[in-house]
Subunit: 318 residues, 2 copies
């Protein structure tokens, strides 16, 4: 193969991770640059270009790079732009053709998409969804993202922004306020932040004993809830059951939409293992249209978490 490698770039609010990846999904080398020290896009792209070339030269040369894939918040696959991304100061308008500019600088094709779509590509290319042509990727991190694959292709929709499953309504009456301004979004319940909110709600509205009471209620993170659950704490287990109930019911509706072979879960919350997965699966099967009961796989990503973002982005470039 003349061009045996691709570059994957995961642009986050503070740092951007860059890796050189081979066809088997090995991250040969990786590095990171800051994403938060520019207020304009062009200087950031210049920094990024330089870092890519330096990294590639450690193992090969740009001549052997087939393409570059980028995952970034609010990235638009159709026009190759990143804009209105609240955590990226330099992504403030839609004037900069990010992908085209970087491609011109480096002489290789550049494709970009949002983080969750990149994760779906990574899962399909190297991970738990290898060989699947219809699945839904749900990322359970600070927020809830999604990447939907139908007939082997990521769904972008009419405007490039399809797959905002963190913002379907799961609680219609008195739902929690979400960061997007709506109420009752899945993201307000099934994210790490959502788990912390559930913990606070249960602890403040009851007198039940719990190991979680050893922490200030506003400092409880989903990791603390997991650790308490491992120790057998009933309140902690109930927090995950409630989260899984809401997530499973939402997934039942997603199944009615695209009849996927599997739903693949990724992100911090999945570290809670069966505490979150079991109620999710049980509630999905209880809620789903009878035709699909016990037929749709619900699985965890099997990509190494530290590599997953780079791998996902890189998968775009093949």
């Amino acid at each position: 193969m003349e061009k045996p490698y691709v570059v994957g770039i995961d642009i986050g609010g503070q740092t951007s991770k860059i890796g050189v990846v081979d066809a088997r999904g090995n991250v040969l080398v990786q590095t990171a640059i800051r994403s938060d020290n520019h207020t304009e896009a062009i200087p950031f792209i210049d920094d990024l270009s330089k870092a890519v070339v330096d990294l590639v030269n450690q193992v090969s040369s740009m001549d052997h790079i087939r393409g570059i894939g980028i995952g970034a918040p609010n990235a638009n696959y159709y026009n190759g732009k990143i804009y209105k991304a609240v955590n990226l100061k330099w992504a403030k308008d839609d004037e900069i053709p990010f992908a085209a500019y970087l491609s011109e600088r480096l002489g290789v094709p550049v494709v970009l998409t949002n983080d969750a779509n990149a994760a779906a590509m990574g899962e399909m290319t190297y991970g738990a969804a290898r060989g699947m042509r219809n699945f839904i990727m749900i990322t359970l991190g600070t927020g809830v993202g999604s990447g939907i694959v139908i007939n082997g292709e990521v769904v972008y929709g009419y405007d490039g922004f399809a797959g905002e499953l963190g913002h379907v309504t799961v609680v219609r009456e008195n739902g929690r306020l979400c960061g997007c301004g709506r109420k009752g979004c899945l993201e307000a319940y099934a994210s790490a932040t959502g788990v912390a909110r559930t913990a606070k709600e249960i602890l403040e509205s009851t007198n039940r004993d719990s190991l979680l009471r050893e922490l200030p209620v506003d400092k409880i993170a989903s990791k603390d809830v997991y650790e308490a659950a491992v120790k057998g704490d009933e309140v902690a287990k109930e927090i995950f059951e409630y989260t899984g109930k809401i997530l499973g019911q939402a997934c039942a509706d997603f199944v009615a939409f695209s009849a996927p072979e599997a739903i693949v879960m990724f992100g911090g919350l999945t570290r809670a293992g069966d505490f979150i997965m079991k109620p999710t699966i049980d509630n999905l099967n209880e809620s789903v249209f009878p035709h699909w009961r016990n037929k749709v796989k619900v699985i965890k990503s099997d990509l190494k978490e530290s590599d997953a973002a780079i791998l996902g982005a890189s998968a775009l470039a093949w």
Copy 2:
């Protein structure tokens, strides 16, 4: 064009409509046979074959037929079978390769899919969605069906049954029992039957004056509610507002999934015009993820209702 025509067949519980259609969407001739006088599939397919040949011979010959498209309940596009369709006695098992058998009998390709997917194909080929590559078709009849089009193709999913949007959950607490056995399905609210149930609920739980009280409460149909609304009846208008609220909120979630250019409404309930469309559109825009507010078109089918089922089925055959 050597083969300028297609045949569209709409298989319903009582009758099956057959039409010969040209490339512009003109139904040149049509006929119907009974679907309910057989308990086995093969004799029904034999009747159907004969009716198709007789009809085609009125305007042309089978040599000029490019293909046959069929819309039928529980039809599977992938394997060409119709099974477990509750209203079709002969469709009781999955043994009969319906499409393959009919194709062999008539010597032309045969494709089948469910009614709502056929309607989506019809809308895309001849109707309100011409030129669109991303839209969602919602059929509001006795039940609620849907056909989802992404990148110009109907979504069938892993098993061929994608697009059961009538069976997403819209009311999670004390939802109405749906024919599918679940509770709170969209179909239990936004169908003609759902409108009748809403009417009964409001009339029985209040003492409000309404023209609808002239009818026995169990006999009220959605048509009666429409006629009362036209006369200015406040209860009737409120019934449609409630229906549109639930439908619009559900559509907001569908938009978050596939970011369609438009949602196209078809079927009996759309005859209520603005009484149903306005609250649907208002609630969609109020509920939807802010990015899509006032951006997604919500339109009515513009196919003639009497031809629509045949046209939809025929569109599969091009």
